[in-house]
Amino acid sequence: MEVLKQIIENINYIGALALFVIGLYTVVTHSNLIKRIIGINIMGTGVFYFFVSIGNVVGGNPPIVDLDNGNLIYINPLPSGLILTGIVVVVSITVYSLSLVVRIYETYGTIDQDEIAKIIDQETFDD
């Protein structure tokens, strides 16, 4: 019962870690380059989720100053602000890697890592 309570209280951290591990697994094991990029995005989501949930305050309000209601409890806005930067970074990484994939598809005619490796091996053998 104690364990169950622990899990429920920390469900956001467990979920974030699970996303991180799923993303890492996708990046490392899949040979399809697009799936690897998706894996990076899942990993990023995991980390961002973790970071944002650190800033949560139970019963807190969104951190927008409400002049009429006086002193409310606000959640910590700093992690959310930082993660906005993180999201922008992952967006740009995704765009750049997708454009690389476009180039790879043009030159090799495939987006599968194993087949690309075969083509490269064949070429070095021909040399």
């Binding site: 969104p62 927008i64 997708l98 476009v102 180039r103």
Partner: protein
């Protein structure tokens, strides 16, 4: 893509998308949103235009010349505002102490330099989104030809 429904509808809604983007940019300091979100919405409007009317027509609306200036200009504007802080108080990006008017909290004209920064960020993000989309499309056309 030559479809009369798409063309009519997108012609109708693109102005509203753009106004919404500008609204989000300008209200970044008093409500959720800001330069990045607003710029992304602004960029989306031209991406929709590109999808419906094709790259050639979109390039006329937003050519590489304009995007070069907008992209560099957005950051240069940010840096310029930051430098004001150095000259007045001795710290880069100083807000109130550098003499930016603080205004009344909750109104549109408040928070010192933050709305000014948001405009720069918005321009930068919007032009980056559009340029990225156009570049990828052009490269794909170029590659298949």
């Amino acid at each position: 893509m030559d479809d009369i429904i798409l063309r009519t509808i997108s012609r109708l809604i693109i102005p509203f998308i753009e106004i919404y983007g500008v609204f989000i940019i300008l209200h970044g300091h008093v409500s959720p949103g800001g330069g990045f979100s607003g710029g992304a919405i602004l960029g989306t409007s031209l991406i929709l235009y590109t999808l419906v009317f094709g790259v050639e027509k979109a390039q006329k609306k937003f050519s590489h010349k304009v995007s070069d200036i907008a992209e560099s200009g957005g950051i240069l504007w940010f840096i310029l505002i930051g430098l004001v802080g150095i000259f007045v108080t001795g710290y880069f990006l100083t807000n109130i102490n550098a003499g930016f008017p603080i205004g009344e909290p909750g109104l549109l004209l408040s928070a010192g330099m933050i709305p000014l920064l948001m405009i720069g960020i918005g321009i930068k993000v919007a032009s980056t989104m559009i340029t990225l989309f156009h570049t990828v499309i052009e490269e794909a056309h170029h590659g298949s030809a």
